[in-house]
């Protein structure tokens, strides 16, 4: 299996961290094994069947096999009602660590609090709830939103000779990533009055909805400069609308995602131009490491959340395009 330099460095760092933590405790790797063996971890994702969650689960499972603890996935299949039920069931199963992927900032907050109060450590992955818990592994959405907005200002703002018109396509208005990215982006745009957000309509994460919105906005604003889709999957639809309108060279299509090979394919096909990848494969490894640490009793000294922020990879079309930035399932 091929790993990029970034992942190799990540692995070394993670191994060193794990090693250091074990050494700081009572000593040997065997003792760490004893602390991990037989423990129970349950993962409740928004849905399996997408590269993001499949990539995470693969790496977490690897860690579970090495540590000798059980790792169980409860697939909510994009159904938030089912997700709450699955989480309630998972809490009643009394795992040692519960890994939760929040569809919105509010939906699972009460259950996360309940789990923590029952002594279950909750690791939130990539999408954070309003409710803090033992740990968070994931991207800094504030940073992604800000960086993309700054790039848009550079490409479409003063001195670029472009209209400054931007269409934003969030996933859902209450999803953590959409909320935080929009806040960060609008903060940047407010300082640059030449940037005009002509559309800010959620796609419910669906490519076809994103396509219809983009097609409509494009004919109202033929001089649109950039589209900022909050997820690369639904932005496929937006990118295709831009391409079908013959504007692939004029409109920059931005998105964010887990950075698997589909993202690189989208760039190669000219459907999207710039993708801020939080590297789901690396996040899976981070999550696996975090679970190992939590099972060994790791906690922040002041009781606050342990946080592992994902490094970002920026996949760009053009001369600097580098297919090795993407990972393969």
């Amino acid at each position: 299996m091929f790993y990029g330099i970034g992942s190799r460095l990540g692995m070394v760092a993670a191994a060193a961290l794990l090693g250091a933590c074990t050494l700081m405790g009572t000593g040997t790797a065997t003792q760490a094994d004893e602390r991990l063996a037989g423990k129970k971890v349950i993962f409740v994702p928004i849905s399996m069947g997408i590269s993001l969650t499949e990539g995470w689960a693969r790496r977490m499972r690897e860690h579970a096999e090495i540590g000798g603890y059980s790792f169980d996935v409860r697939d909510a299949a994009f159904n938030t009602g089912v997700m709450s039920e699955l989480l309630a069931k998972a809490i009643s199963d009394k795992p040692d660590v519960l890994v939760v992927h929040n569809p919105t900032v509010q939906l699972l907050a009460r259950q996360i609090r309940q789990a923590e109060s029952e002594g279950i450590k909750v690791l939130q992955i990539n999408l954070q709830s309003n409710q803090p818990s033992a740990a968070f592994v994931g991207a800094s959405w504030e940073r992604i939103g800000r960086e993309i907005a700054e790039d848009i200002v550079k490409e479409c703002g003063e001195g670029s000779g472009k209209s400054g018109k931007v269409a934003i396509i969030p996933g859902q208005l209450t999803a953590a990533d959409s909320v935080i990215m929009n806040d960060a982006a609008f903060k940047v745009f407010e300082e640059h009055k030449e940037i005009q957000v002509v559309s800010n309509q959620a796609s419910d994460w669906e490519p076809e909805k994103a396509r219809q919105i983009t097609a409509t906005v494009l004919q109202q604003h033929p001089d649109l400069c950039a589209v900022f889709g909050h997820w690369d999957v639904h932005t496929m639809g937006a990118g295709n609308a831009v391409k079908d309108a013959g504007k692939a060279d004029d409109v920059l299509v931005y998105s964010t995602g887990g950075g698997d090979d589909v993202a690189c394919k989208a760039i190669e096909d000219g459907v999207q131009d710039r993708i801020w990848s939080y590297d789901a494969d690396g996040q899976g490894r981070d999550a696996g490491t975090m679970i190992d640490l939590l099972l060994q009793g790791a906690a922040a000294a002041d009781g606050s959340m342990l946080i592992a922020q994902s490094p970002l990879k920026i996949i760009k079309a053009g001369d600097s395009y580098d297919a090795s930035l993407c990972w393969k399932m």
């Binding site: 069947g49 997408i50 994009f78 490519p207 076809e208 409509t216 496929m236 391409k243 079908d244 394919k265």
Partner: protein, 319 residues
Amino acid sequence: MLERVVAVATLVLVVAFALAVDGFATIGNLRVILSNSASLAILSCGMAVVVVSRGLDLSLIAQMVAGATVFGILISNGVAAPWALLVAVAAMVAVGLLNAWLIAYVEIPAMLATLASSMFMVGLLRFAILRGEFLLLLPKSDPTVAFLAGNILPGVPVSVALMAATLAACWFLLNRMSAGQVIYAMGDNFQAARLAGLPVRTTLIVVYVFGALTALVAGLVMASASGVVDFRTVTNGTLLFDVILVVVLGGIPLRGGRGGVRNIIVGVALIAVMRNGMTLMNFTTQTQDMLKGLVLLTAIVTDNYLNPRDAETDTVGDL
């Protein structure tokens, strides 16, 4: 008649949007409205024929995704497009036959039969063929996909041409074929049609196979436009409700026996114009849903006021 109320509401909205919304009354926008509503109109043709025969096809969206998946998997594995299309058509005919067999011969109510076949199809395709994946990407580099997403004549997208062709086929089936007469008779009074010796079972086969084929066409149009076959359209989307809404709003009663292509066009027009105008005004998705609900409610209440129910029109099974 609900159809007239809805047609008037659509006209009022068109005038209001044209006056108030920048960029609404343009040829470019008309093209966007048409191409964005193509898949909805095509699906509504299938659903309308089923509903007129006093049925309901809850598997229509699953069929749409299934057809597009079969086609997409084949072309991405290097099968020539005509063969891929042929296999997809055969698969959809088989699905239509299965639905019709369950309803006409096993005599399971249409709603239950199609609900079950919908679940079966999604499960089978997701786990046996896509191996758990939710999405299948269709590359625009493929000439068939590029053709379906492109223009057939300058300014006329292929999707719009397919919508017109499907509407024409629907009109032909309902008005010019003997099966059409039987469909209306079945919708009017199924037992009477059966006792009169009309071939109700074979006609149900025609109805559900026609529905399946419209689903395939809609699936190809939608998938090639957005470049993705998305299974969440079935599991989470509201498209099925939109399709039923178009049919009911256009004035085809769910108890069947009435309605035609004109009703479909009226229903689709209202939804398409509303969606387009609100997108141009940059309304949030939630606001759009709310306003859509409000307009529908107003249309139905107005219809109730203008055409009060009486003993003759208040039939069992009507909405």
